[in-house]
Amino acid sequence: MNITRRRFLLSTAVAGGGVLIGYSALKPSKHRIANSDLAGEGEHYVTSFIKIEADNKITVYVPHSEMGQGVHTSLPMMAADELDAAWEDIIVEQAPAIDLFANGDLVKGFAGEYGIPSFLTGLVNASAASIAELMNLQITGGSSSVRYTGQTAMRTAGAAARQMLIDCAATRWGVASDECSTQLSHVQHNASGRSLSYGELAADAALLEPPKDVTLKQPAQFTIMGKAISRVDIPAKVDGTANYGIDAHSEDMLYAAIRLAPVFGTKLVSVDAGDVLSRRGIKRVIEMEDSVAVVADSYWRAKEALKLVKSEFEASDADNTSSADLFAGFERSLAADDSSKDKEVGDAEGALESAADVIEGSYKVPYLAHAAMEPMNCTVHLHDDIVEVWTSTQDALGIKARVAKIAGVAEDDAVFHHSYLGGGFGRRLPFNWNVIDHATLIAKEFDVPVKTVMSREDDMQQDYYRPAVASNFKAAFDANGVVQAWHNRFTGPIQVPGASHIPYAIANQSIHVVDGPTHVPIAAWRSVDHSQQTFFTESFVDEIAHRSGINPFQFRMQMLAEHPRHRKVLEVAAEAAGYGENLPAGHALGIAVQESFGSIVAEVAEVSLDANNRPVVHKVTCAIDCGWAVNPDTAESQVEGGIIYGLTAALYGEITIENGRVAQNNFPDYEMVRMADSPEIDVHIIESGEALGGLGEPATPPIAAAVSNGLYILTGQRVRELPLKNHDFSRSTPIAGV
């Protein structure tokens, strides 16, 4: 890939007043900023991502959060490979939360792929911000770090640095640059056998203006990318030294337990704290607009005291609202069909009118909590006119700005302390800020660090949820039994455009969205709209296949003539799963496929029922075309994890609303897949050589449909509502002939 001048100029223009990471290597002014901000004595930068020291240690700064997706390894792999560094010489560091490391390219990548990224729509709606105004973020989300920061910034920076080091060596030796080569952190002049380490050249390179054009490697030239490199974050995660936001600790620290308004959007009316202030270690009871908190010298003391604090919140129109009411509202909206077009092809309404046969299906899925293992928390310390913040976040720069604003200090006087994330899944993206805001308000009352921790119950009841969605389908068949129309009305909002679209060659399609507003706060949840929409569309496609009398795998293959990558993942997954071969008695295979975040994923689930007629998922066979894989082992673990995350939702996941508030409390009533019901997972990565696709999310969407499609074959029961735990499979009539 040549980084053309046109691209360079475009990138610069997008940056506006901000900075484009990766390209800053190509901007001498920013180059100087990098040196002054980060380089220590005897250290030199050649790009803003890469620091080369005289002893040949090479530090790569990663501007994304590590939440288990392996980005602290895969991004440095990309930089190191283009740099021709020895992997052993690489030191990985989290880039600081300063705007030099804002990841505008990620936003721009999304803008190209989808329009404004879903997790930023809150900001866009709030301020009608242009793309340029979205630059000052440091987002980790959208399965995008490797695809955008890696491909645009890391590889470019590595290649630019390599070229500069070659030029320095050539000048020193008085030879032409093209007589020199690089490997293992050294420049060599092959004709004379001379060699200099990158460290020996770093001081010279720092004086050069970076090249305007760089040529990236072809896959055959990769020395690090494509190899299963051990993740750099793992050793600290097996000996207890890995530091998460919740692990911020100091001797003088105070701790806050908080009770937020149980009905979303209501305000605190009164508090009766009784005599909790007389309890050991209790410092303050703090009343806020929508919450009450107890601050103590230990989290446990604060939490126990809060149980004794009585509080009254204002009455609200939502006080009597239940999930049944919300879904009834969805049904009314769908029936009224005051809808906006999502996609319209041909004349689906006409085809339905003239159809020989019509099938219908009404689907719905509930709200879901993210339930990251690290409960939401934030530590804030206001002192000496500055504010320091420690929290696990998918957007360090955004948190820094938010805390500074609420603390009333200048953004430049805010210091963000990075940590690993104990899970993100969308919960720790911008705008999902309740714990951040409250932690800052509480900490304003003290001059020592205050750590606010949500209990698991708070975390579950004060989330920003995956939206509940209802989706109604009709399909029209002609006299020959061939499907002619696909008609779909679903409740919004649309967070990721295109998730409801189908790749299948159905001549007439009418896909519309209706408003589905509720008082329940919503946010992106691993794979965003794809998790709900893929359950809907891949289940209803399965209904169409069965009605057509064609095996669901064959039906999909027939209808995907224009989509060879879809066909390939289906073929690979089906063959590896033994599709069409004899299965153990009482087992069935269900299949589903979905493209999301640039990757195409087919999953085949082998299912049965246990002695109590509960679904059992024995094995999931997955084929993913993600273009190619930077770190194949990390890619596999992301696919494994994505499947299990989606399987928990399919089997158990359900947040319900009762009396306006979340009914679930903790893991016993928001159950998780655990070891005992975790299936064998067989992952096949297909290297199509197409553009890099995402890996963190794309494996989540197909699993619910794959499992329920298998259960249909096994039981004759079509699952149109999740979770599966609510279904009674005791009266089963297996579908013959598939």
Partner: protein, 157 residues
């Protein structure tokens, strides 16, 4: 006075007898390797070993471990090594966790490792069913297939 040993070091803490061991470790001793997940012994993130047995520290009051020997993730290797100065920094179990690249976000893994270590100590060759019934910890990232692989790699067949 709550008195117990953590990783071989005696601790005397002037705390309430009903304070859960988890919070004594994290807030009083600043040992943050042991994690808070659910507070009700459901998820296992807080698992430590008391006299070698896996225990969920979030519901274990310090009064229940008076005079006992507690091992946390920070001390797992040193406690296993005992007085052996040439022992490696990690147990074979922790090394297996690295070899199989088990953790993703890693937050649950302290508890996962403490539970697996306890399982293997009393049952060196656990069947899949025994792994399922012993390792009931929650991992939201879905590391279960690799947890199983890592445990099985150590099983003495």
């Amino acid at each position: 006075m709550a008195t117990f040993k953590v990783n071989g070091v005696e601790q005397n803490l002037d705390i309430e007898p009903e304070m859960p061991l988890l919070w004594a470790l994290r807030d009083e001793l600043g040992m943050t390797g042991t994690k808070f997940g659910c507070g009700i012994a459901s998820c296992g993130a807080c698992t430590v070993q008391v006299n070698g047995n896996a225990v969920r520290s979030c519901v274990t009051p310090v009064s229940a471990v008076q005079g006992q020997d507690i091992t946390t993730i920070e001390g797992l290797a040193s406690m296993a090594a005992g007085a052996n100065p040439s022992a490696p920094d990690l147990t074979a179990l922790q090394q297996a966790w690295i070899d199989h690249q088990v953790p993703q976000c890693g937050y649950c893994q302290s508890g996962m490792i403490m539970a697996a270590s306890s399982l293997l100590a009393r049952n060196p060759n656990p069947s899949d069913a025994e792994i399922d019934s012993s390792i009931t910890n929650v991992c939201r990232c879905g590391s279960y297939p690799r947890v199983r692989r890592a445990i099985r790699s150590l099983a003495t067949a």
